[in-house]
Symmetry: C2
Subunit: 171 residues, 2 copies
Amino acid sequence: MLKLGKLTDYATVLLAAMAAEPERLHAALELSGRTSVAAPTVAKLLKQLQKGGLVQSARGAHGGYRLARAPGLVTVADVIRALEGPIAVTDCAVHDGGCAIEVGCAARAPFRLINAAVTQALEAVTLADMAASLSATPRRPAEVPLTEVPILFHPANSRPTSQVRAHVRRR
Amino acid sequence: MLKLGKLTDYATVLLAAMAAEPERLHAALELSGRTSVAAPTVAKLLKQLQKGGLVQSARGAHGGYRLARAPGLVTVADVIRALEGPIAVTDCAVHDGGCAIEVGCAARAPFRLINAAVTQALEAVTLADMAASLSATPRRPAEVPLTEVPILFHPANSRPTSQVRAHVRRR
DNA sequence: CGTAAAGAAGACCAAAGCAGTCCGGTTTTC
DNA sequence: GAAAACCGGACTGCTTTGGTCTTCTTTACG
């Protein structure tokens, strides 16, 4: 499984929809209509995303939400962190202590490695990529042309978002 | 969080412990003692791992469990699959249909990409790596020397376990 | 200045998944 | 035949998650 929550999934869809028109204000209800996500859920999610600093809100009539940063600077990892907290494949991969085994645990170091790699993968995809894949020529899913994305893995550097980027090649 | 269950974590620890002596039979109770995982839980996990084909069992007195494959051929991804089913960051990343959005969903293709990358990372670490890191010179966690592991990302090839391997460099 | 359109905040609930335990049965060794 | 193991479940309590509802505040516009 290793699943992330549905809400996180929805949030990504919402943000991707917003990324198509980054400047405009998007009302929660309008986004609900465009994405088929239930209205109360959209409202809840956008509030959480605002708390997480990913979107800005404008209150009152003709209010709505807008991306706080350019689509290319918002990664999937950011979305997950805003909704589910820090990315941690296992508890011991992030915060020390609390584990009975801890010292001499064979799995600890490898899990940290894995956690870094997973984080890396999540930081490599931005809303801009999603917005682009939306307007691309529709194709059968199986041949969606995202291929051969070399990911440089560098656990020491935990925030390589801007330098190390996935190159999404489409033919 | 993107967390995997505690049981999966425990299972990895158990298997790593077994990987230290791959030939020997390990009784559930004995493994419990060595890993500080509660005995009934160990029993439950080993049963599931057997069903998943990761360990072989020998019944009767002096019975126990043994790795079904060489430690270098068992990856963390295998463990997760045995206990939690297929690796799927989101539902739509794996099985088609059932999603209201589906067609024209901006998040779908990128999530597949991410899912492949995550799988890749999980396939890159084997029990042998863990057993090695266990017997390595103990160091402060912060400077655990797992660094610079280039991961070749190739979604088309979903089972690159044996070719593409993480190079765990230690100084 | 009043009304309508929006977001803010949080309480609330139902359902599902997860962790953990326990039991009775079977197989093998000594 | 008794003890040491694994086998196959059932079962339960708990936490998390998804989703809805209500009430309040803010702003635009006629």
